[in-house]
């Protein structure tokens, strides 16, 4: 037999608001709908209700009863994210979940009793209790605990039909489990208002002298249908615990959302980040429930008085670290401020599976993927794209070719290796881009050309220092290196050709030169007979 569970959040509008602003839980708070004279209370906290504030009062009436009433308008963003959070909790119990209404979720828990057959899951402190609750009851209690974890005080009912499950969930003593086949017995003593009949039908039933659901169920279906029409027939079925409506599961959402409309526009970054931190924390918890991590974070800022600012941050690796996401958001906002006060925000996290790594006991220590992703994300945000990553070689003959890719090192070996002996190769310092120079050449035997002297064209000083044998290249802090002087030894040319299949192939002639004043450089002559220094051998 099908078993359906219903998660019901009473006063959902208020619960959604308190989820975003938990500090208001013990205050006299009223949620208001409408503007001006039409503003009226739709929900209030316990403290406000004790003072006589109830739904339907206008804000003016409520203020006259309780001058210190804190009024908050309905926040559709908060309610939407709270509903999504409720659905995600339901999805941790069953893949078949229906989004019925605000604060009401149905899920198919058929066969789930095997997962809750036994074990110390029936009490809040993990200790086994003296009674022996049924698997359905254990499941319901686990669901209530899961909803509490996301700051939503949900009630749970389990029955064979959606109607019975909803009515069970709405009862104040939660959880309520209706045994299979006993829906009619369960509903019989309850008042007729639990079936939420239409006003006309309710008034007529009242005139009939019917007060409980059981009274209605005892009457003949045809007589009720002849007096109330199709509505009466449906009510009679409901009273007998018959609900022909099937569960309509919703598709899995491709992303996670959190957001909020602010009471007043924020003009400073710090207060915004304070609120954003809480929202990101909720987002991370929801992703953790599903076993996901954030691959891309998109956030839309609602600007005051109008307009939006939409941005996106790509994470180098999936992460659930709130601090990282917040830092990246801070850096992005500092780099390009929105330009107007922020009146609301919406965060969208695109989920992905987090990276896992097996650490080695005997080999070199592996870098934690989560930490690495965080560090690289921060570095990219500080230094910019293309400044951090794994260096790569590129096919071709030109020495300055390189590429940079995402850094994802292979796992370290299981056992520590012996370091390979160094080849002892001489390294060069590459100049990016190559420095244009002026070259004086001298003809040698045959067609050989040797370089006699060079002078950097990019040098600020028009008159280079006179070359003296004992002088060395001057190194200035933050300045340029003087590349100028008479060449002592010249070696070359070595011809490099690339792209012979195109109209203008890249042909270069390379020389190694040592200056009289010191310094060994690699220079080349390009196609247009321009000369450049592209590297320096360290001296």
């Amino acid at each position: 037999m099908t078993r359906l569970a219903c998660f019901y959040v009473p006063m959902f509008v208020l619960a959604a608001r308190l989820r975003s602003e938990p500090d208001l839980l013990n205050e006299a708070l009223g949620i208001v709908e409408g503007n001006g004279n039409n503003a009226h209370i739709v929900a209030a906290t316990r403290r406000a209700r004790k003072k006589g504030i109830h739904p339907g009062l206008s804000l003016t009436q409520a203020r006259s009863l309780l001058p210190k009433l804190i009024a908050r308008s309905r926040d559709s963003e908060c309610e939407r994210t709270a509903q999504e959070a409720l659905l995600e909790v339901a999805e941790t119990f069953s893949p078949r979940v229906e989004d019925a209404a605000e604060g009401i979720v149905f899920l198919d828990v058929t066969g789930m009793e095997r997962h809750f057959a036994d074990g110390p899951t029936d009490s809040d402190n993990g200790q086994p209790t003296t009674d022996n609750p049924s698997p359905d009851l254990r499941l319901a209690r686990a669901a209530i605990r899961a909803c509490d974890a996301i700051s939503l005080p949900a009630r749970v009912g389990i029955a064979a039909s959606k109607l019975a499950a909803r009515v069970a969930a709405e009862l104040p003593k939660s959880p309520t489990v209706v045994a299979p086949g006993e829906e009619a017995i369960f509903l019989a003593p309850l008042p007729l208002t639990r079936l939420s009949p239409e006003l006309e039908a309710a008034a007529m039933l009242h005139r009939f002298g019917l007060s409980s659901i059981g009274d209605l169920a005892k009457l003949p279906e045809s007589e009720i249908a002849s007096r109330l029409g199709e509505v009466g027939r449906e009510l009679h079925w409901a009273a007998r615990g018959i609900d022909p409506r099937p569960l309509m599961p919703r598709p899995m959402p491709p992303e996670f959302r959190e957001g909020m409309e602010l009471e007043w526009p924020l003009v400073a970054l710090e207060p915004f980040l304070f609120i954003a931190n809480a929202a990101l924390d909720r987002l991370a918890k929801r992703m953790e429930i599903q076993g996901f991590a954030c691959k891309r974070l998109e956030f839309t800022l609602t600007l005051d008085p109008e307009g939006y600012d939409a941005r996106g941050i790509d994470m180098p690796a999936p992460t659930r670290d709130v601090k990282t996401m917040l830092t990246l958001m801070r850096l992005d906002l500092e780099k390009t401020p929105p330009g107007a006060p922020v009146a609301g925000f919406s965060f969208v996290a695109h989920p992905d599976r987090p990276r896992r790594a097996q650490l080695s006991l005997f080999g070199p220590t592996a870098v934690s993927p989560e930490k690495l992703a965080t560090t690289i994300a921060k570095l990219i945000s500080i230094l910019g794209e293309g400044r951090v990553g794994m260096p790569m070689t590129v096919d071709g003959h030109l020495p300055e070719r390189y590429a940079i890719d995402d850094y994802s090192p292979p796992p370290p070996p299981d056992v520590r290796r012996t370091p390979a002996r160094a080849r002892g190769l001489l390294a060069v310092r590459t100049f990016r881009p190559p420095i244009p120079i002026e070259v004086t050449t001298r003809e040698m035997e045959g067609d050989d050309v040797q370089i006699a002297s060079i002078r950097s064209l990019a040098e600020v000083s028009a008159t280079p220092a006179p070359p003296t044998p004992n002088s060395r290249p001057r190194v200035e802090a933050g300045g340029k290196i003087e590349i100028a002087g008479t060449v002592r030894i010249c070696s070359g040319p070595w011809r490099v050709e690339e792209g012979w299949w195109v109209d203008r192939p890249d042909i270069r002639e390379y020389w190694d030169i040592e200056l009289e004043r010191g310094g060994v450089y690699r220079v080349f002559r390009g196609n247009a007979t321009d000369w450049f220094v592209d590297a320096r051998y360290e001296m």
Partner: protein, 292 residues
């Protein structure tokens, strides 16, 4: 009596020496080769104190921190007492083949499977040449900061992430931006100490002050050419003198010479270099010690 005798009969064996139970053979220790090698690598005094797995893990971590990370340049390793100290900061300053030392250290570290990071403030790293020198580029994180502040910030973040080797190469001139305060280097040394990272700073002038474990001065670079004046010349390589200016455990003042050759000159006959000269404290007359 018969009954009594039977009783005595049954009692006499009790007066004899009790038969000792068959000794249970101790379970055969199943120890993998890796664990045996690990135990063998630890000092006997440490092994005697080990009673649990967690202590073994702690001892291994401690041992690793006391290890040296070899640069595989024998003269330099000899000068530094085995290589770069793990969990410490070492500095190479001056002119000469500093960048070649950096590349060789990267090659040594990545060849044993450890993660290395190069913070290339001069933006002068050539991946093609590094690959030819033996660097495993897949294990290398290349960071190219713009300013000095970004350089030290990146080093601090990467050191705290768990990289075994972090190299800061300043290039041939100081990056633009304000000079970083000395406290930055103290903080960087603490990051290295707390996370077991080896930090190597290569700069044209001394930066780290008293915070580094060792400071080597590179100076007097000299290019060597193959061929004479009339024949075509080929750059063979560059030799540089290294002097241990400061070390917390070794006596400073030792010098050595290292030679890095061009790829074209590999296989050519070149004079041997690499002896470490140790000055005597009393007369300051140097005595020579071979590198290998």
């Amino acid at each position: 009596m018969a009954v009594l005798a039977r009783r005595l009969d049954t009692q006499f064996p009790l007066l004899e020496a009790p038969q000792s139970p068959t000794p249970v053979k101790p379970p055969r220790m199943v120890e993998s080769d890796a664990l045996r090698n690990l135990r063998a690598s630890l000092e006997a005094s440490i092994v005697a104190k080990l009673t649990s797995g967690s202590e073994l893990i702690r001892a291994v971590a401690r041992q690793r921190r006391e290890e040296m990370l070899p640069t595989t340049i024998e003269p330099l390793d000899l000068l530094l007492g085995g290589g770069l100290a793990r969990g410490k900061m070492t500095e190479i300053a001056g002119r000469g083949t500093r960048f070649s030392i950096v590349i060789a250290t990267l090659a040594a570290t990545t060849s044993i499977g450890e993660a290395a990071a190069l913070i290339d403030a001069g933006d002068s790293f050539d991946p093609q040449l590094a690959e030819a020198a033996g660097v495993d580029l897949q294990r290398l994180l290349w960071v190219r900061p713009h300013t000095m502040k970004e350089t030290v910030t990146a080093a601090e973040m990467i050191g705290a992430t768990g990289f075994q080797l972090v190299i800061i190469d300043i290039g041939t001139r100081r990056p633009p931006g304000r000079r970083v305060p000395d406290a930055t280097w103290v903080r960087l040394a603490r990051v290295a100490e707390s996370h077991g990272a080896t930090i190597l700073v290569s700069a044209p002038y001394a930066l780290t002050g008293t915070t580094s474990e060792a400071m080597v001065l590179a100076h007097a670079p000299r290019a060597r050419w193959l061929g004479n004046a009339n024949a075509p010349r080929v750059l063979a390589g560059i030799e540089t003198r290294l002097k241990l200016e400061k070390h917390r455990r070794l006596r400073p003042g030792q010098t050595t010479t290292v030679f890095f050759r061009c790829e074209e000159a590999v296989g050519c006959q070149l004079p041997a270099v690499g002896s470490v000269v140790i000055p005597r404290a009393d007369t300051r007359q140097p005595t020579a010690r071979k590198a290998s």
